[in-house]
């Protein structure tokens, strides 16, 4: 009817869409230098309150559920929750033992924690994306990113912990001297010492970076697609949203499993002699 009006509407819709996407990708930030909630603050000393709450809440949820299941664990016929916890523990224990051959009291519980925790965080991807932000904005919280896996702070927080563990396990497994010797002499012998060192450091640093970027990238892409789908008219959303969500039932545990598995593999490589 009116081409000009239609164009104006499109521009309007376009800027609305950009705002919508940006809103969904913005964390609730606490500026530590001013003590104010300021989501425009763009420096290091900010805290992502939503990420911290989600991360801690989901981890505590995991601990609580597993504690409930383990608290009254008996050798007799297990109840439903104990059965679930036992299944998880056995699955992780088996997977870890296949990879990490040495005795360790830490690795298997660590792997269980990583798997369940990352799984729960990824699972937040399947919550309808507008639900939590719109509820919280009604009570005055301007931004809320439900999916903590889409925050580099989280993925790097995890992978830096893993990096620290890699160094600790290298030192424990080979001794401080052995670890340094491996860094200096390992692939090509003492005559190419600087080259060895650079290579090993790159290899070591690449591990946490790839670990965290893999998780971040996968879930970021997923979340972005969900945001784009939610921009479609409501009557067509289901036709794309449903297959994508079903696909994510696979991606969510898979990414959690990959993160756990690679952690165990890295620690096994660090601990064992070459």
């Amino acid at each position: 009817m009116n081409p000009g009006g239609s164009l104006a509407m499109n521009v309007d819709a376009g800027s609305n869409a950009t705002d919508y996407i940006r809103h969904h990708l913005t964390n609730l930030r606490l500026d530590l230098t001013t003590g104010q909630i300021d989501s425009e603050a763009m420096h290091f000393w900010t805290l992502h309150v939503d990420t911290l709450v989600m991360v801690f809440g989901l981890g505590a949820f995991f601990c609580y559920i597993f504690w409930l299941g383990a608290r009254q664990a008996t050798a007799g016929v297990p109840g439903g929750l104990q059965n679930f916890v036992e299944t998880m523990v056995e699955f992780i224990d088996k997977t870890v033992k296949e990879t990490f051959s040495a005795e360790s009291r830490v690795i298997a519980p660590l792997a269980l924690t990583i798997f369940c925790w990352v799984f729960l965080m990824n699972l937040m991807d399947l919550i309808p994306i507008d639900m939590v932000p719109s509820i919280l904005s009604a009570v005055g919280v301007p931004y809320w990113k439900v999916l903590p896996s889409v925050d580099l702070n989280l993925t790097f927080g995890l992978s830096l912990s893993v990096f620290a563990l890699i160094i600790i396990y290298s030192t424990m497994g080979k001794g401080p001297g052995g670890f340094i010797k491996e860094l200096l002499f390992h692939p090509f012998g003492p005559w190419l010492l600087p080259f060895n060192l650079v290579l090993n450091i790159v290899e070591m640093v690449a591990k946490p970076i790839s670990l965290s970027l893999r998780l971040f990238g996968n879930l970021y892409a997923a979340e972005l697609i969900f945001i784009l789908i939610s921009l479609l008219p409501w009557w067509i959303q289901w036709s794309l949203g449903t297959p994508w969500a079903i696909f994510h039932i696979l991606v969510v545990p898979l990414q959690a499993f990959i993160f756990m598995m690679l952690t165990v593999v890295y620690l096994a490589m660090a601990y064992e002699h070459h």
């Binding site: 900010t46 050798a75 523990v89 830490v106 924690t113 989280l154 927080g157 912990s161």
Partner: protein, 156 residues
Amino acid sequence: MNFGATFWGPMISFALFVWFTMKYVWPPIQQALADRQQQIADGLAAGERGQQELEKAREEVAALLKEAREQASQIISQANKRQAELVDEARAEARAEGERILSAAREEVEREVQQAREALRREVADIAMAASGRILKREVDAKAHQDLIDELAAQI
């Protein structure tokens, strides 16, 4: 990107949750699993033992049955032998008794015959005396002819 101080949060909570899992989740579950494994192993061993005991008991029962059967047949054959012996004994006894009775009867008969003969003899003697008295028309003095009469009686 918006990388900032937030990453300490996940790091600290990571350590915390791993510690929690290590302390409160992993050991009880592993303990329960190990206990159950032990119980199952014990149960299986007990089952195995029961099976063996059953087998042994079965063998024992078979041996006992065989022994009992042998004993029974032994007892039966003994009883049969004893029965035959008893029958034989009874038969012999009966025969002996019969013979005894028979001989006693025979003796009795003999004695009766003897007595009858004696009585007859006397009677004959008396008749003879009476007859001879009549012939002689006088009283024969029995006392005087006692020895004669006796001799006569003995001859009859």
